[in-house]
């Protein structure tokens, strides 16, 4: 397996090097090289902020394609809870599931059921959690990756529970397969995702050593087809059989209102999350028991592959939750039956950004060099060098990813310096040539 799998990719054909992606990237993972955006794999957390701002639509999330579905004997669509709020107020979750099923699937799974199991087990988990640092939600894979690379000190505080999408995958692969008399491999489980991060998580599972999800389709990619499929629905099956609890997980604070725990906080937007984790590292924030963290502003409904405006969509989420209630429908014996699907068998490794040097001495030398370079730069973060800030550029220089003359101001200084040098030679013309005609005098 690759060390880093990324779903966010740059299409060099389309990219014109506009720098917008580089400027918004919260982890400074993008550089512009020869007019094209390049992603630094050890820093990218697949949040997809770059996807939103690219004017050429050159940054895309590599999710599955529609054709993947035909590889399996039986395919099941598992929509993210955020899909339920992507259509008008009058469109019910059941209509969406039926519309989805008719697209090309043999079945559409109501993820609300898996969410109910998840919340039930999470409550128990929290009751027995006693670390003085908060337990950190792992529903958002970008947050998990952010902690792996930037805040490895909190690795032990990551909630070790399979997310509802994984629970759904396991239930379908194992239980449904038995029911249908199929090999689990013959059943395809396709997640309908609002973000690239879920695709990354599917290829580098966070909980189970093997993912029970086979692929993902972007909400934005199937939206048009799904829309017309819903419009053409005649008679429907009962596919939606859960309460609003699952739907509430698609907005920040959704989990917290369900688990009803004191001293829990929800934070959305990756930069806000980084600020809070920074404060936590300083010991500034204490007495928080649970942290619900989302990379996207607005939570999953704000995902870069979701279609509707997240602030408007939130109204629909709230109405759906009111309509279906927040009680859980799933029975205790069913929870117990699914319990094993929630336990994790992999422990994620920290993936900290490597120190600047081979060893401490070399790193110290490079830190010194970097600080000296920063001092010599204009510190206006113009970006022309292809790095998002002067500081990031200085680091690129000491790490050999860039040269100092890639800074246009440094280049200008160099040109001034070398032209003065050239001028000094120009003045040294032979004595016999010294007196020239008007207009050729060199100052």
């Amino acid at each position: 397996m690759e060390e880093y799998f990324h779903s966010v990719k740059v299409d060099p054909e389309r990219c014109r090097g506009s720098m917008r992606c580089m400027r918004v990237c919260p982890t400074e993972a993008i550089r512009i090289r020869e007019g094209k955006a390049v992603i630094l794999e050890d820093r990218c957390v697949d949040c997809g902020d770059c996807i939103r701002v690219c004017p050429e639509r050159a940054i895309r999330s590599v999710v599955g394609s529609y054709e993947d579905i035909s590889k399996f004997k039986y395919t099941v669509a598992i929509p993210s809870p955020s899909l339920y709020s992507q259509f008008g107020m009058g469109v019910s979750p059941n209509q969406i599931l039926n519309g989805l099923k008719r697209l090309a699937f043999d079945d559409a799974y109501d993820i609300g059921r898996a969410c109910e199991v998840y919340i039930t087990v999470l409550k128990e988990y929290l009751d027995s959690y006693s670390d003085n640092k908060p337990l950190i939600s792992t529903l958002c894979p970008s947050i998990v990756r952010l902690i792996q690379i930037r805040f490895p000190d909190f690795m032990n505080n990551l909630l070790s529970l399979e997310a509802p999408r994984g629970i759904a995958g396991s239930e379908i692969k194992l239980d449904k397969a038995k029911e249908l008399g199929l090999d689990p491999k013959e059943i395809g489980t396709i997640y309908i995702t609002p973000c690239p991060a879920k695709m990354m998580a599917l290829n580098q599972p966070q909980c189970k050593s093997e993912s029970n999800l086979d692929g993902a389709l972007a909400i934005s990619d199937i939206y048009g087809m799904l829309f017309s499929s819903i419009n053409k629905l005649g008679s429907m099956e009962e596919l939606h059989n859960s309460t609003g609890l699952g739907i509430s997980l698609s907005i920040p604070g959704g989990v917290i209102t369900c688990i009803n725990v004191d001293n829990a906080v929800a934070i959305d937007g990756i930069k806000n999350v980084m600020n809070v984790l920074d404060d936590l590292e300083h010991g500034k924030v204490t007495n928080i028991k649970y942290l619900e963290l989302w990379a996207c502003p607005g939570g999953c409904i704000g995902g870069p592959l979701a279609v509707e405006n997240p602030y408007i969509t939130k109204i629909k989420v709230i109405r759906l939750v009111q309509q279906f209630g927040r009680e859980r429908k799933i029975k205790d014996d069913e929870v117990n039956k699914l319990r094993e699907y929630l336990s994790c068998d992999v422990k994620l490794p920290p993936l900290p950004i490597k120190p600047l040097g081979r060893d401490a001495l070399d790193a110290i030398k490079k830190v010194k060099e970097r600080e000296a370079i920063i001092e010599s730069l204009p510190k206006i973060d113009c970006g022309a060098c292809g790095a998002p800030t002067c500081k990031a550029f200085a680091e690129d220089v000491v790490q050999g990813r860039a040269e100092i003359l890639d800074c246009v101001f440094k280049l200008q200084d160099k040109i001034v310096e070398s032209s003065q040098y050239a001028l000094s030679w120009a003045r040294r013309t032979p004595l016999s040539f010294r007196k020239r005609g008007k207009g050729t005098k060199i100052n």
Binding site: D153, E281, G283, K284, P352, K368
Partner: protein
């Protein structure tokens, strides 16, 4: 080849903190933390240093007019010296006690001034030396061994 003095720092960096600037409070601790991560100091030492420098930074923000932080990295140790210009500490022993604080009501309302600053630094660092001159300022020197 010149022989390097045993205790000569391999790296020295200076940072300034403005008293009363709660908006930017914590930035110096973040910068120090970043440098330590870049050098590859162990997580545990970074964690403890981050907490201690943050407390020291908040002490300057809450109690002094301004302060200078000097980070020195020697082959086996990190030393951070904070020199502030401020009212100073009358009774250092008392200030080292948990829960003792002279912070103003305004500062306490913001959630600071719980009297845990110096005790918390002491708890996290391997050594701590506080000297102060009333009316002039306080000097806090704290050190931590890089190999724990």
């Amino acid at each position: 080849m010149t022989e390097q003095k045993q205790d000569a720092p391999l790296l020295e960096q200076e940072f300034t903190v403005e008293g009363g600037d709660f908006i930017h409070a914590g930035e110096v601790s973040s910068k120090i933390k970043r440098i330590l991560k870049d050098i590859g100091i162990s997580q545990e030492v970074i964690r403890r240093t981050a907490i201690a420098t943050y407390e020291a930074e908040m002490n300057v923000v809450c109690h002094a007019m301004r302060g200078k932080f000097r980070l020195a990295i020697t082959p086996d140790k990190l030393v951070i010296v904070v020199q502030d210009e401020g009212k100073g500490i009358e009774d250092i022993d008392l200030a080292m006690q948990e829960g003792f604080s002279t912070a103003s009501e305004q500062v306490r309302e913001m959630g600071f001034g719980a009297g845990m600053g110096l005790p918390n630094i002491k708890k996290n660092m391997d050594d701590l030396n506080v000297t102060s001159e009333v009316g002039k300022g306080t000097r806090v020197e704290m050190g931590i061994f890089t190999e724990q």
